[in-house]
């Protein structure tokens, strides 16, 4: 069965070019004969050991060696490029939803294009272009959104009519199409040969490659990689890179110190046919028909067609299973819906003869994005895996970013969406992964509409109030495994069911959220925000303060009971985290961060705080339930429940106090709401959660209290121009660029991380500026809604992208937040962005190809702060998490 793939692997001349390889080839040949000479022995030590000889491993080796790291060993348990890499369809497609994925794919494409020239290895690179078909208007909108992104990135791309599709591809049935997206520079490669080419180049740069060598486990000492154990001996090393593909999870768990790499394999099928009577041209565009769940490319005069079915077959759940691997067979009955879709798309293929149905397992991740980066628990342990069947498209770019990460400490792009640390141990349950990937794989072809939520792997982490809120009509979304309320459906009101509610336009919950927002503005609402990451840091002496002062940009040496909004910056001044820190006592601090910071922030601090028994850091996320009381009447509710004076004189803004609420004592009350509205956050020990909630709701009745959800919060924070980490803020954004200079104390009397970079920015100006846009001619009822990632045009020229958006019920307009850059009109060089530059432009936001006029603002509307109590203590540009 594998015989046919010899053609894919036909070119082996590259081995002859390399003496080392010739030796190995000889030894392999003689395996079948009697006397087997010993293969080249492993080195005793190396700087880097890469496990996995697929596209990822070879790409990392290639890029590391290009960047000057030479002492690298790549280990492959079988043969190079013999796993998923060998079987994958070889389509290089840049049509991606996530910006960083798009950039990786674009880089890969450019890399592969010149790889043959660089290495002399035939890669089979053919620029065929790709056509993504739309059978529905919604699909076309989705494609138009991608097309907008591609165009501003300089990747040629156009939306075409069905007739044009027919001109580009002779076999397509266009009768059910409404349009398509054509990306002329997309390509086809022989994936195995690309991998071999990368290996050849790496080998020439000094990387040692050893096949038929399995890594049994990685040795760790004091939280650092020290070496690897293989079936052929030990190698000491400083860095280990896990590129083991679908085996990455198991390899991660093989050592004493487990590294959680949440991915799970699913069977993936594609069909190969004999050539057509009139063989298909090798430059015929690849067809992607997401509504039919299939892709079709030309293959040796015939076609190769596979897809992502609705009912995937996960496998290897119980770990590697030799029997299962051998039994990976063609499953035609399973493939039937895809075959139907293929024949519907290309009816003329009926008479085409089948060559084979290939079963090629692919690994999928819980959020459909690949996994990259350093382990939060083991330093020097890097991972690159979980490609969600886009390994070839991402291979080059992902390898480059990981190499940069290892060499420079961080990639040249923000890769947080792909960072291994976005996951915790909670995503590594096999049951969770099995269930989730069965949802993820079909999503490859599903319409990606704003605000969809995963349905599997839910109700894992919940607040103690979950059932109470659920009974009151709560609709839930999930973040980092934690259930959070989107909004509350009032009794007697029904929303559309899940599938029907998918829309790019005004959603069905519009009025519900509107009334929640209104209540926040006029009375009081309670939002359960228990998912926040909460750490307590304390010390016997001043160590806690000293260390935190170094790690955080704002001044934490404030009187006890004060709350400080501050960034946790990297050396370049970029936000690694954005948090609120309350000083509980002289020597202890309570730190609140976004939900998905639980792993990343912990690892960041752990790696930087001294390993000192006098300084303790504890994750107390699970200990507290957080209720946010938002609205002008919050103060009345709280004062009635606590019999304590809560007037601004006694309880100013940004203040933290332990007090009793109802019968419960020891509630940490903070005068912040993360929205700019007046109100309080209540951090309640979980055993009191239900009591306090009941008390608040009872007492609040006369003030018109009601439950609210995160959608209301989101609308409130965006209209107030509050940025939120992970969406608006990332490791490449500094406080200077988002108008948060006031949260940085450059002269706090001591050095802190990122200080130099910020000082430099202060002097020289910033190259991007966080800006708020109010859509002017946008009809909320009729027009497409903005989401995020929409290109921003200034005087007709592209200047940046939006990062988040929401409808402001107060302004009755859509508000988009995003970054504006200043490119030199001639050279394209990045220039300093000044306030004048922002203010003196005519702006447009491109939503799926349609441009809407927008008004740019650098400061929020002051009229929105009518409820502020003290002018100077408003949480101007506080922070927000979602």
């Amino acid at each position: 069965a594998a015989g046919m793939f010899l053609r894919l692997l036909s070119d082996v001349r590259w081995r002859a070019a390399n003496p080392k390889w010739r030796r190995m080839t000889c030894s392999r040949r003689s395996t079948s004969s009697t006397a087997e000479p010993h293969p080249v022995s492993l080195p005793a030590q190396a700087q880097v050991v890469i496990c996995g000889g697929g596209i990822m491993g070879t790409s990392v080796a290639y890029h590391l060696s290009k960047m000057g790291w030479k002492d690298i060993v790549l280990l492959e348990q079988g043969r190079l490029a013999a796993g998923t890499t060998r079987f994958c369809a070889g389509i290089v497609s840049t049509a991606r939803h996530v910006s960083v994925e798009l950039k990786m794919a674009d880089y890969s494409n450019k890399l592969y294009q010149q790889l043959e020239q660089e290495t002399g290895v035939k890669t089979g690179y053919v620029k065929t272009g790709s056509i993504s078909l739309a059978q529905t208007q919604d699909r076309l909108i989705s494609l138009k959104r991608i097309a907008s992104s591609l165009n501003v990135m300089g990747i040629p791309c156009e939306i075409i009519t069905p007739k044009q599709v027919a001109q580009l591809h002779p076999l397509i049935n266009i009768h059910d199409l409404v349009g398509a997206m054509y990306v002329p520079e997309d390509a086809l490669v022989s994936s195995a040969n690309v991998s071999l080419a990368l290996a050849t180049a790496a080998s020439r740069n000094g990387v040692q490659i050893h096949e038929r060598t399995s890594v049994s486990h990685v040795s760790v000492q004091k939280g650092r990689v020290t070496g690897v154990e293989t079936d052929r001996g030990q190698i000491q090393c400083q860095y280990f890179v896990n590129c083991a593909g679908q085996w990455a999870y198991e390899l991660g768990h093989s050592g004493e110190e487990p590294v959680n790499i949440p991915l799970h394999a699913c069977e993936h099928f594609y069909l190969l046919t004999h050539p057509l009577k009139e063989p298909l041209a090798s430059n015929l565009p690849t067809i992607v028909d997401p509504d039919g769940r299939i892709y079709i490319r030309n293959w040796q005069g015939g076609i190769l067609s596979g897809g992502f079915e609705k009912n995937p077959k996960p496998l290897f759940t119980e770990g590697r299973n030799q029997l299962e691997i051998q039994n990976l067979q063609e499953d035609w009955d399973h493939f039937e819906p895809l075959l139907s879709a293929l024949l519907r798309r290309m009816p003329d293929l009926e008479a085409l003869q089948i060559m084979q149905l290939v079963n090629c397992p692919e690994s999928f991740t819980p959020d459909m994005r690949c996994i990259m980066g350093e382990s939060p628990t083991v330093r020097g342990y890097f991972v690159l895996a979980g490609m969600n069947s886009a390994g070839i498209s991402y291979g080059g770019g992902a390898g480059k970013y990981l190499a940069e990460w290892m060499v420079n400490g961080y990639p040249s792009e923000n890769v947080w969406p792909l960072d291994l640390k976005r996951f915790g141990t909670l995503q590594s349950s096999r049951t969770f992964l099995r269930h989730r990937v069965m949802e993820v794989m079909p999503l490859m072809c599903d319409l990606k509409v704003p605000r969809w939520d995963f349905q599997t792997g839910r109700q894992l982490r919940t607040s103690p109030l979950y059932d109470r809120l659920d009974a009151q009509g709560a609709r839930w979304m999930e973040k980092h495994g934690f259930e959070r309320v989107k909004y509350f459906v009032p009794p007697g009101k029904d929303l559309l069911d899940l599938d029907q509610s998918k829309t790019f336009y005004k959603p069905d919950w519009f009025d519900i959220v509107g009334s929640e927002v209104k209540c926040c503005k006029e009375a009081v609402c309670v939002i359960d925000m228990s998912s926040f990451t909460k750490f307590e840091i304390s010390s016997t002496g001043d160590q806690a303060l000293e260390n935190l002062q170094y790690l955080f940009s704002n001044d934490l040496d404030v009187p006890v009971g004060h709350v400080v909004h501050t960034g946790m910056l990297n050396e370049k001044g970029g936000y690694e985290n954005d948090c609120s820190i309350a000083r509980l006592s002289k020597r202890s601090f309570f730190m609140i961060s976004p939900t998905d910071q639980q792993v990343h922030c912990w690892a960041w601090l752990k790696n930087r705080l001294p390993n000192d028994s006098t300084l303790t850091m504890e994750d107390v996320t699970w200990k507290y339930t957080a209720l946010n009381l938002i609205g002008p009447r919050a103060v009345d509710v709280l004062s009635e429940l606590s019999y304590a004076p809560i007037t601004p004189e006694h309880f100013p803004s940004l203040f933290c106090k332990e007090m009793s609420v109802g019968y419960a004592n020891g509630i940490r009350v903070m005068s912040i709401t993360h929205t700019g509205e007046p109100g309080f956050m209540l951090y309640i020990p979980i055993e009191y959660a239900l009591h306090v909630y009941n008390e608040v709701m009872n007492m609040g009745q006369k003030y018109g209290i009601r439950n609210a959800g995160y959608y209301a919060l989101r609308s409130l924070r965006i209209e107030k121009f509050f940025a939120f980490w992970g969406q608006d803020l990332d490791a490449f954004t500094t406080p200077m660029e988002c108008g948060r200079e006031f949260q940085v104390k450059l002269e706090k009397g001591m050095q802190f991380v990122g200080q130099e970079a910020l000082l430099e920015q202060k002097q020289n100006g910033v190259y991007k500026r966080f800006t708020m846009f109010i859509l002017e001619d946008h009809d909320t009822d009729m027009d497409l809604w903005p989401w995020w990632g929409e290109p921003i045009f200034r005087n007709g020229r592209y200047v940046g992208k939006t990062t988040s958006s929401a409808y402001s019920y107060t302004l009755e307009r859509h508000v988009c937040l995003g970054f504006v850059q200043h490119f030199d009109e001639k050279t394209g060089e990045e220039l300093v962005v000044t306030t004048d530059f922002i203010n003196q432009g005519e702006y447009e936001i491109d939503i799926a190809g349609q441009r809407f006029q927008a008004k740019a603002k650098l400061y929020p509307f002051s009229s929105l702060f009518t409820h502020r109590r003290r002018k100077d203590e408003v949480e101007l540009s506080g922070y927000q998490r979602e």
Binding site: E330, D333, L339, S340, L352, Q353, L357
Partner: protein, 549 residues
């Protein structure tokens, strides 16, 4: 290899070239596909003239299948039919319409549980019939014996009208039950009748609302039955009743009564005509008697009983529990020849038919093949005008020298049920001529267990096109989905019998076409189908087996 099964009968279109334009109704479909289930000759039981009253068309269609028909007549027939099938537009029944047709006669019986347990070896049965004739000539019966143990189930295929099948379906089980009754019970019953007391109930019937009993004849039938049990009482052998013997006696006695009633006649003119119609028409019978692990099949004619056996590997196989009494059965041909002088050897079986006319070699009624010529003439002449005017009844079979040529005596097969015997299928030839018993076993077995032993497909080195593969896969999927459509195993089987395509799976389009044929045409493409599927209780059977060991 692709396990494409094909158990298709030879295509009619090959055997009898019929230009597509002659079938305007179905001209838009592939004629060969429609024809592939058409049986060689549906009106085969009786190849000569049919009913007492019939249309010219029916007459012609009958003639078409007369063994000696000439091609020219055949051509004429088609010319005639063009008038009937003049609706040129395509019409299809929707799946719900198809289902309502298929399910109109379905019936299910579940043996009631006592104390949460079913102690019977029978779990229950599903039955159904699909007419092709109008009215249908098949009958079915099912009943539980109340004075002895056991359950009776039977299918009856009438020919030359439905009168005989109807009478047999009403009466045969009483004859069997009475034959099985011990002496004391017979006495008790006779005494009750004598003294006008309430009668012990003998049978509990399990009837579909469409299964009717004739009220008018009940008194007549009862009297004949009473005469029978009176004779049994007089004969009192004192021995315990042997089931096999009881079945044979009951069959023969009933046929004899049918014959006698026609000879004697009845003062009531309606009844007089009825008994004559019963006697001049015919019916085959295939009856099962299940009592614990003892299964007896009594068969007369060409309906068939088949046992569904689940092998250790889960697959299904079929075991025949009856022999067809027709020209294909060598022993049967031999038997008939033995019963008549050597001089008649050549004329006895012609064109695979008894005396060149009748397909089943055993049957109830059909006195034309049983009575002497004199008796036939006397009865017809003294009979009512309707009978006298009918060409068929007056017609004497050729080479009719040494009657009787036909008997109702059944062949009885006894089978001890084993735990692997999961179900029994009783069905008239309408089923068996479209489906192989192995397929029947598999389809019912898979239906009852809900498990679909579908071999995975592998292309291997074979040349398969995408279109072929797609067709095959669609059929396989339909096969699974069709299982879930039916709540009745017999319905499921009929769906397959009528709708199966070359892949052995149900093709809705085909099913729809077959069911939307007008009455006049339906009979050409299929025969009446009657099916009873009895499901056995393996636990009880296993326990019985162990006790016996």
């Amino acid at each position: 290899a692709i396990p494409v099964r094909s158990s298709r009968l030879p295509l009619l279109s090959d055997a009898m070239p019929a230009p597509a334009h002659l079938f305007p109704l179905i001209r838009n479909c592939e004629i060969s596909r429609i024809c592939s289930t058409v049986c060689y000759c549906h009106h085969k039981h009786l190849c000569c003239l049919s009913h007492f009253a019939h249309s010219h068309f029916r007459y012609a269609s009958q003639k078409r299948f007369v063994a000696l028909h000439r091609p020219k007549e055949n051509f004429n027939y088609f010319i005639h039919t063009r008038d009937y099938a003049s609706t040129p537009q395509r019409f299809y029944l929707t799946p719900p319409q198809v289902n309502s047709i298929l399910k109109a006669n379905e019936y299910s019986f579940k043996v009631p549980e006592f104390d949460g347990k079913n102690v019977s070896s029978v779990l229950g049965f599903d039955s159904n019939q699909l007419p092709a004739n109008a009215p249908i000539e098949d009958r079915r019966s099912a009943a539980t014996c109340l004075q002895t143990r056991g359950m009776l189930l039977g299918v009856f295929d009438g020919h030359a009208g439905c009168a005989c099948a109807q009478a047999v379906s009403e009466r045969l089980f009483y004859y069997i039950a009475v034959s099985l009754l011990p002496h004391e019970t017979l006495l008790e019953i006779e005494n009750a009748v004598e003294s006008g007391r309430a009668l012990l109930p003998i049978l509990q019937w399990h009837k579909h609302p469409n299964d009717y009993f004739s009220k008018e004849a009940s008194k007549l039938y009862f009297n004949s039955l009473r005469t029978y049990w009176q004779e049994l009482i007089d004969l009192n052998s004192g021995e315990t009743t042997d089931v096999k013997e009881a079945l044979i006696n009951a069959f023969k006695r009933l046929d004899n009564d049918i014959s006698l009633e026609a000879q004697v006649g009845d003062p009531n003119s309606f009844l007089n005509y009825l008994v004559l119609r019963v006697a001049f028409s015919g019916a085959t019978a295939c009856v099962a008697h299940v009592d614990g692990v003892d299964l007896h099949i009594a068969n007369t004619g060409d309906s068939r009983a088949m046992l569904g056996v689940q092998e250790e590997d889960g697959s299904w196989s079929a075991v025949n529990l009856s022999y067809d009494h027709n020209a294909q059965n060598e022993h049967e041909v031999e038997r008939v020849k033995m019963e008549h002088p050597k001089s008649e050897e050549k004329s006895l079986v012609k064109q695979d038919r008894l005396l060149g006319l009748l397909m089943p070699f055993r049957a109830f009624g059909d006195v034309k093949f049983k009575w002497s010529i004199e008796l036939q003439k006397r009865v017809v002449e003294s009979g009512p005008d309707q009978l006298n005017d009918n060409e068929y009844t007056k017609f004497i079979p050729p080479n009719y020298h040494t009657p009787p040529y036909l008997t109702a005596e059944p062949e009885v097969i006894h089978h001890k049920l084993r735990p692997q015997d999961k179900f029994l299928v009783l069905a008239t030839d309408g089923l068996w001529e479209t489906m192989h018993r192995q397929d029947v076993a598999r389809i019912v077995g898979e239906y009852l267990t809900g498990v679909h032993h579908q071999q995975p497909i592998a292309v291997g080195g074979y040349k398969v096109t995408l279109g072929q593969m797609h067709g095959l896969l669609t059929e396989r999927r339909a096969r699974i989905s069709s299982v879930f459509e039916d709540q009745n195993a017999a319905t499921h089987l009929i769906r397959h019998a009528v709708g199966n395509n070359e892949f052995g799976t149900v093709d809705h389009e085909r099913l729809s076409k077959m069911l939307s044929l007008p009455e006049e045409l339906a009979r050409m493409y299929r025969d009446d189908i009657t099916i009873i599927v009895v499901q056995f209780n393996s636990h009880v059977i296993g326990a019985c087996q162990n006790e016996e060991l």
